[in-house]
């Protein structure tokens, strides 16, 4: 340990308890502590704001604040400082909640000894430093990811411009000169037009993919039964044309998310379920499981199925398992689904074997009155 004393702020209104802590820390042989004291939350926070501290010991029952709230207020005032909560003998429940909310430790007054106290403080400081580093790295990664998404978005946007020119002039060529071209010339032009149309779809998918990862919409209640009904209605012509059916379980639970992303997820999955089949498609949308905080939805089809060896790969961007002549598409759909689900704190996976249809599972947070957030903080 370095020679610099650890600066500990004790926010404690009972002078006897405060003195006891101060003496124990002074007695400790291994680590030098410099102890400061405050008798109220307000004076403690003021001191913290002015001079900082390496660690704070905080009593939850203070003249100007009481219970868990004491800790929460202190922590939000100084989020980078490690807190150790001091409690009476019968306060275990509150103290545990404080630890859940970010306190490093809690100590029960009356059963503290010098060694345990010093160790608790030292570990709290170390842990907080690690947490802080981790938090910074996560924030950095998050920022880099956002930058990458923004970059992808603007690149895909810029790529559309020359593509539009390419498309327009191939069309003009076809319109004005096709009578002067032979079959092969016209065939080349058709191939050119088809390739640029495909590139356009890929670019559009890329820009959807980048947009879908940047969760900035407020999270609200999304009515699943309604959204699935709308998607099914939108695909009705396609389903009828193939002589198939989409069955939706009644009363699907509502989720916490945003409409656009939830729609992206289920429209893509149901669209795939209808597409990858050689017989009349039969798609079932059900809820497989509901636990305290999340629901798992299942989209089951009777299509060609997916070999388990490819289950990991299919969620990658522009990954295709079939020749374009067999099943058209850019191969970005499932990547979009995956990113949309992750942006909503959910996930998606598949159960399938070749020839046995596929079931895609989507787990999303359940909507609960208390959980609704006005705005998701953009990192």
């Amino acid at each position: 340990m370095d020679a610099k004393p650890l600066r500990v702020l004790v926010i404690e209104d009972n002078p006897a308890d405060a003195r006891f802590i101060r003496e124990m820390l002074r007695e400790h042989k291994g680590i030098a502590f410099q102890v400061e004291e405050a008798g109220q939350l307000s004076s403690g926070l003021e001191r913290l704001a002015n001079a900082g501290a390496d660690a704070v010991l905080i009593d939850l029952a203070l003249p100007d604040s009481h219970g868990l709230d004491t800790f929460l207020r202190a922590q939000s005032a100084a989020p980078a400082v490690p807190f150790i909560v001091l409690t009476g003998l019968d306060d275990d429940a509150v103290a545990t909640r404080a630890v859940h909310s970010g306190a490093q430790d809690y100590l029960t007054k009356g059963s503290i000894d010098s060694g345990a106290l010093a160790r608790s403080i030292r570990y709290a400081v170390e842990r907080k430093q690690i947490e802080e580093t981790l938090r910074q790295v996560v924030a950095l990664l998050d920022r880099k990811n956002q930058e990458l998404d923004t970059f992808t978005y603007s690149v895909s946007h810029d790529l559309k411009e020359p593509l539009r020119t390419l498309e327009a002039f191939s069309q003009f060529l076809l319109e004005d000169y096709s009578d002067r071209l032979d079959d092969q010339g016209r065939d080349y032009l058709t191939k050119l037009a088809r390739a640029s149309a495909r590139m356009k779809r890929q670019i559009e998918d890329l820009s959807t993919l980048s947009r879908i990862g940047r969760q900035t919409e407020p999270l609200t209640r999304v009515g699943m039964s309604q959204i699935i009904a709308e998607i099914a209605e939108g695909m009705r012509a396609l389903v009828e044309e193939q002589g198939g059916a989409i069955d939706v379980e009644d009363g699907l639970p509502d989720v916490l998310g945003d409409r656009l992303r939830v729609e992206q997820i289920f429209a893509n999955l149901i669209g795939n379920a209808l597409k990858f089949t050689s017989e009349p498609p039969h798609v079932q949308v059900t809820v497989r499981a509901v636990d305290g905080t999340a629901a798992t939805f299942a989209i089951r089809d009777n299509g060609i199925g997916i070999d388990p060896q490819y289950h990991g790969r299919i969620f990658g961007v522009f990954q295709r398992l079939h020749r374009r002549e067999d099943y058209d598409g850019t191969g970005a759909g499932l990547a979009i689904v995956k990113r949309a689900a992750e942006a909503l704190d959910g996930r998606v996976w598949v159960e399938s074997a070749l020839g046995e249809g596929a079931t895609f599972l989507v787990r999303l947070p359940l909507w609960q009155q208390a959980v609704e957030q006005p705005v998701q903080e953009a990192a």
Binding site: E167, F169, K200
Partner: protein, 145 residues
């Protein structure tokens, strides 16, 4: 007679291919117009404001957003700040989908903001609609006078 006069159209567009596409779409749309072209924002301002005496103002100005020297928003700003042509109908025609660009265009007084369609046929349709809009506006007593 007035309402069958071709629309005097000024288009500010720096990309020659885009301009050619626009010319073709105009021809296809059947919108009767006399087209004048500015190849960047500065040229547009020169045509609109500096030659004010020599050349009568157009009926309608179509501005690209991203142009060298002066961009579309800056040209729009100068039109609105001018005396004689402050009320000229201005259409922004751009590839940008950014909310900021849309809002800034309206804030500076654009009459409408149109996103350049991806398909040529959509561009033709857009110009048809623009023509219909223009003629319906021109028939109003306040403008026809």
């Amino acid at each position: 007679v007035q309402e069958f006069r071709p629309v005097q159209l000024l288009v500010a567009e720096d990309n020659p291919e885009d301009l050619e596409i626009l010319r073709r779409a105009l021809a296809r749309s059947g919108l009767a117009c006399d087209l004048r072209v500015a190849r960047d924002g500065q040229e547009a301002v020169a045509l609109l404001l500096e030659d004010e005496r020599a050349v009568p103002p157009p009926d309608l100005v179509v501005l690209d957003l991203n142009m060298p020297k002066l961009n579309g928003l800056e040209v729009l700003q100068r039109i609105r700040a001018s005396g004689r042509i402050a009320l000229l109908p201005v259409v922004m025609l751009t590839v940008s989908t950014r909310d900021e660009d849309v809002m800034e265009s309206y804030r500076l007084g654009a009459n409408t903001y149109l996103q350049k369609p991806a398909e040529f046929s959509q561009l033709v349709r857009l110009l048809e609609v623009l023509g219909e809009y223009w003629f319906s506006m021109a028939k109003r007593p306040s403008l026809a006078a």
